[in-house]
Symmetry: D2
Subunit: 437 residues, 4 copies
């Protein structure tokens, strides 16, 4: 049965800062920081992103993000291994076991990125799969490739494919992996010409996880995930990206309102539509351009407010060891982070080109929230008639507290009103709710 | 706040037998039958379908289903009224009030079909809207028409439009209408060239219903509804057709498995994706071809099983006064109809070209069901390993009872197996469930 | 048989300056100017654009371009007539006869704009068609409307429809109309939900023109025309818009390179893919914003060069009576306008995001042209190796003359090279061509 | 400059009978037959179809048409060579030279099939390209593969790619190849997710052919070719498939009328939209099912008539050595085959679900033809009013001769009428044409 946790995963991911190049020391440093400064707010996953098996990762960065026909660490069964030059503790076939142990020792969880499929080289070399006479060539689907990374062939829905995926996930479980971000598996629209092998590969991964004896979160990338496949993601996965790669640009943040609108009724225990990582703080070193986030502080609050009231997983993109005070403050607002926990149902009240309003309701606690987003380029007064909000039906709230500032506001006759800066957001907890009539 | 009933609506609709031609006497006869023979199984809505305002409905049936520029009953504000020649009790401006009263007197509920929009003639005649100096011409959107029926223009999202819809729904509420099936509002793909006015018209209808002081079910047609608008249907409506017009053809029934797969996670209290009416028994008189359903008995059981385990509304298409014994038996299986009540979550376990398996689980009662569908053209033995069914996790069932036949079967080691006729279905209630381990 | 003229139509159209509001006096003034200053360069058509039948055209311009349910001049058979308040000579049922006579008297040709279809009011009023007992209601297709103008219903492919269109075109022929720009008939993608009635209406218009006893150019709007219907446009029409409404914006001009690429092999005698009117000089009065064209002079040369080398019809959008010296110079370059005549086949040699190269070859005269377009925002040196140009095969040109400047350049070893300003163009006539080898 | 022949290519292709398995002896036998029995009717190309470089072609036919990771003959530069076990004369690096010589000695021309791209194995092995230090890995685009055959990677638009293609085509030219059917290059809709590399590969092949010093026909597959790329096919290729693989099924033949309608104006000297091979006579041996064509004789005449009046290339799919008398007669009607020569412009006059009418006109000779196709399943009388045919304008034909039967018919008052069997066709040459009036 699929792992069904009660809150959306929160953690750190190496991609936004390191691209393909992160190494063991850097992962540990970020884990250390998280354990010390962020853990008690719910941050727990430490995720090593793409191409940890590539010895030459980043060495031709002016030409390629992913070097074609590059130099990869691989075991005799065609399973990628951490590049020893980057992850020394993996020497001697230990894989990510030692690093996972380290992360666990801090009270945190360990995650890795994988590409859907089986290495092309494993297939061309006809490498033997474990415990069988079948080979990688028989598991590989030579017509199923990734459009933007040349490492893999897709895996066939056959005996050889099942053996490959089972052995792969078992190896990860043995290492102590708690979280798998599988890439090239979620956006099938890149692969329209045929039955997309990613659909059955998602199921095969899920079934392998069920068998492996360890709780492992399954996260699917890239997006945008397709709403007509929602039932499949919900059946087999824990997170799925509802957007293409997200970065610190206002147009992308603005666009996320459309995506959250679309997916708003799909957040549930163990099921988290994923708005992608938070490009905050220090970013971009591996891309050749270390820099601060381009988001203004107002935009950052808008992003955090939307991700939380929607219920997205939260994965920090910043290099944690360089976290400034502001960003750390932003990432440790417990009253706001709480919304990503089970029981908080966020819904869009209304949206047009200049503003969005979201409400959130916890049936158990009776808590009711309202978020006002200013999508325009000028400061404006936004208001919401609470009688129009389905989730507030039959309740009146004489007052509300804004959770970023702590400011108390009155909500006379159900009308909540506030001046909101350009691209900014306000998030209210409604107080003293009383049944009307 | 949207009406949130606890079970999917069940009832009778005049379309499949009468097309556009049903009259008062016929509606009453069907209501009488329902009250006497079906009510205690949950059947309650009596719905008058399309063009009850057309005096000449059906008179040119060889050329048109809907006569262009036809002769319609309309009040001085441009609101259609029942054609008095067909619904005599509506004379003197009483509308459907007397007929609704009659239906209510039987302990049943009364529903009507409407077309999205405002009559074209009302706009061209510049008829005044009630209690305002605005006219129908100002409410009408002359660029928004129906692709297959010439009665209406769409309604604009403006003051005049709001007044029109509010006054229309208030009139229906005053009549005693309990159910509105609004047509030409759900399948926007017919109208790609512009912002489809049906989206805001859905909201306007919902808001008018909220204000009218009566509980009214809002049902949207035709389909297929668009999965990317699911959040909107869920917010504003109670039912939405997930299919184009459905009739008694195996290819359409087969296709419904695909649609139910797509919408399986969208059934909730007050929210019912709609598989359309049940073309059973005596059909087609108004279409010029009175006849028995073309479905075999096995296909009928397949249809009833799928509609129920999925959680669709159930609307009988048959002429009730001519119901044969078999069909009546089929429509009164309380143990099966029960699945459309709140709390029963149906999910597809698997599907390929030859078979489908669905499970159903009631969290409160702990009841677990399994349906095996034979989609092929030959009898075959179907089986399901209950350990693979997510909804059965951690439970073993030594036995099961088939609900159409009452037959008891054993489920040794979790394997449920049965021979199923071509196009047929078996529906099992799992018994004596025990926690494993 | 379709009219097959030997050169693309050239003329003036009232839309870009007057919108819906042009009147008789204004048309005459523009015709006078054309006869005096432009006629000897090939300019000959004077075209009255949209809604010449609307008495109230332009009177609610802040709300509507086309007033819904507006006040139209119509004869007893449902055929629109010129609004007498705007075209006084049409009084007494003379239609555009007197105005056409005037234009003809200047040695020019007269054209009008029409909307596809039959007036909605004619159908709702059941007006009789000429010489038959059939009515407009029987000719009208109530499901076929225009998405942006509320005047018309589409016309059915039946006897009533044929009578309507035949009588309409005969009336135009009797008036002396030489050119019909039929709108709402070319871009079927606005109407995807059904068999688009515009396809048969195009054929019906063509057949009516064949019968009317007068040579009439048939021009189809709006665009973009669909390349998969090219064979139909070529069979029934003389011009078809390959673009949506074109205005004086660089992005639209840039985009035209893509459209000309697509349609380059479709220019032939009597067949002219149409790049739309030339928004030059004084524009926009009827739109409430009289102004000069936004195009720079370089962009204007680029536009003229592309339209001519591609072979588009040329219709001036400027108010002619206010033509400045520069624009008049631009519009009277006979050596360049010549390229729109029969026999000059323009072809794209290559195109990327920064530049485009076109060649042109006249098989009869042996003339060869080369155009260099700078699509970038900075001046750059563009060059073309004439050996790569299919149309120059086997010929070498030691020299070339630039036709906008008269400047002579050498083309050593077949390489033609020139510095071209941002958004600008150079057009070369290759000289002294010799067979190679 | 592109080869611009005056008639559509006619010949034989090994695919329909041999699939991937044809060998030298079989090619020669078919060439011998063509030289003796068909050559004088214009048949001249002998084309070896797919995977002539695969030593194991056909050996796993129950599982694969194209064996993944199969055993291919390749030279040291990564260029496929004929499999010596199948083409013994190619031993010693002679390639197809000896076989081409043989075919030429019979007065015929020699063609081969190739897959777009460079062998995947050549890239993974980093094989050196001729005369450069660049390797196959640098020419290969690892993200561009074929959806249905695993042999190749696409070729990049770079120096390495150019060298590879130039050297490949030069090798073919040296062998004496007259015709290249390049596969996986025409239907880009299988590859929507990115810039399709086949567009620039088409240009690179064209440019390589221009440089190679030999006239080589370039034929593109598979289809359907995209009408919005017509200008590109016309610029760089001689033939392009307007259909997916065509076989002897009525639905496919019926569908070809739609495709010919679409492409009717695109036939010109050197440019031939291609209806694919003629599945006549003996077929299917390599597919494991040797058999006669499934087409009735009427359907065969319909196919031949359509291909000829449209102007398609003609490639026989039958095993020639087993040609029966009827099929040989069908393929040797000189009066009909003549229509594929330059100067005969075929046009669709009209088409509906039950019939199609085509006309054909040779401007130079004045010959006019009319074809009547019965698309229905019953015999029917078809007729055409010759006054409606654009190509016959101003001419009347008192008589006509049917070219399959020789039968003379009168065409009183311009009306040509004939009874045509189900799925059959009649093709008339109009006689004694006189100018009307």
């Amino acid at each position: 049965m699929k792992m069904t946790m009660k809150k959306a995963p929160m953690g750190w991911n190496s991609y936004d800062y390191y691209d393909t190049t992160v190494n063991e020391e850097q992962v540990k440093a970020n884990a250390d920081y998280m354990a010390e400064h962020l853990k008690d707010c719910g941050w727990e996953y430490v995720v090593v992103d793409i191409q940890w098996y590539a010895k030459d990762a980043g060495s031709m960065r002016d030409q390629y993000q992913y070097i074609p026909f590059g130099d990869m660490e691989m075991d005799e069964h065609g399973r990628y291994q951490p590049a020893v030059n980057r992850f020394p503790s993996s020497a001697g076939g230990k894989g990510f076991g030692p690093l996972a142990d380290y992360v666990h020792s801090l009270g945190l969880k360990f995650g890795i990125h994988i590409m859907r499929g089986i290495p092309r080289l494993a297939a061309h070399r006809q490498l033997p799969l474990p415990g069988t006479s079948l080979t990688a060539a028989q598991a590989a689907d030579p017509a199923s490739i990734c459009g933007w990374n040349t490492d893999m062939y897709g895996v066939q829905d056959n005996e050889a494919g099942r053996i490959y995926y089972d052995s792969l996930i078992q190896m990860y479980a043995d290492w102590g992996v708690d979280f798998i971000k599988c890439d090239d598996i979620c956006d099938s629209w890149m692969y329209r010409h045929e039955g997309f092998s990613g659909w059955h590969e998602t199921r095969m991964l899920h079934q392998a996880i069920e068998k492996c004896g360890r709780d492992i979160v399954l996260s699917l990338s890239p997006g945008p995930a397709h709403i007509d496949r929602a039932w499949q993601y919900e059946k087999y996965a824990n997170m799925w990206r509802i957007t293409d790669d997200y970065w610190d640009r206002w147009d992308l943040l603005l666009n996320m309102f459309e995506r959250c609108e679309l997916w708003q009724n799909h957040v549930a225990d163990g099921c988290y539509p994923d708005c992608d990582m938070l490009p905050l703080g220090r970013l971009g070193k591996g891309f050749g351009q270390e820099r601060e986030t381009h988001f203004t502080r107002e935009e950052q609050k808008t992003m955090m407010t939307l991700w939380c009231i929607f219920g997205s997983p939260l994965m920090i993109g910043a290099e944690l060891t360089k976290l400034d005070e502001w960003t750390q403050w932003l990432l440790t607002r417990k009253e706001i982070l709480k919304l990503t926990e089970g029981g908080y149902a966020g819904r869009q009240v209304e949206r047009d080109s200049r503003r969005a309003v979201w409400s959130c309701f916890n049936e158990e606690t009776g808590e009711r929230y309202l978020a006002l987003f200013n999508l325009s380029d000028e400061e404006q007064v936004l208001s919401c008639d609470c009688h129009q909000v389905e989730q507030f039906a039959g309740r009146k709230a004489p007052a509300a507290r804004e959770l970023w500032t702590g400011e108390e506001v009155s909500a006379e006759a159900g009308l909540l009103s506030a001046s909101v800066p350009a691209h900014g957001a306000k998030l209210f907890l409604l107080e003293n709710l009383q049944k009307e009539g």
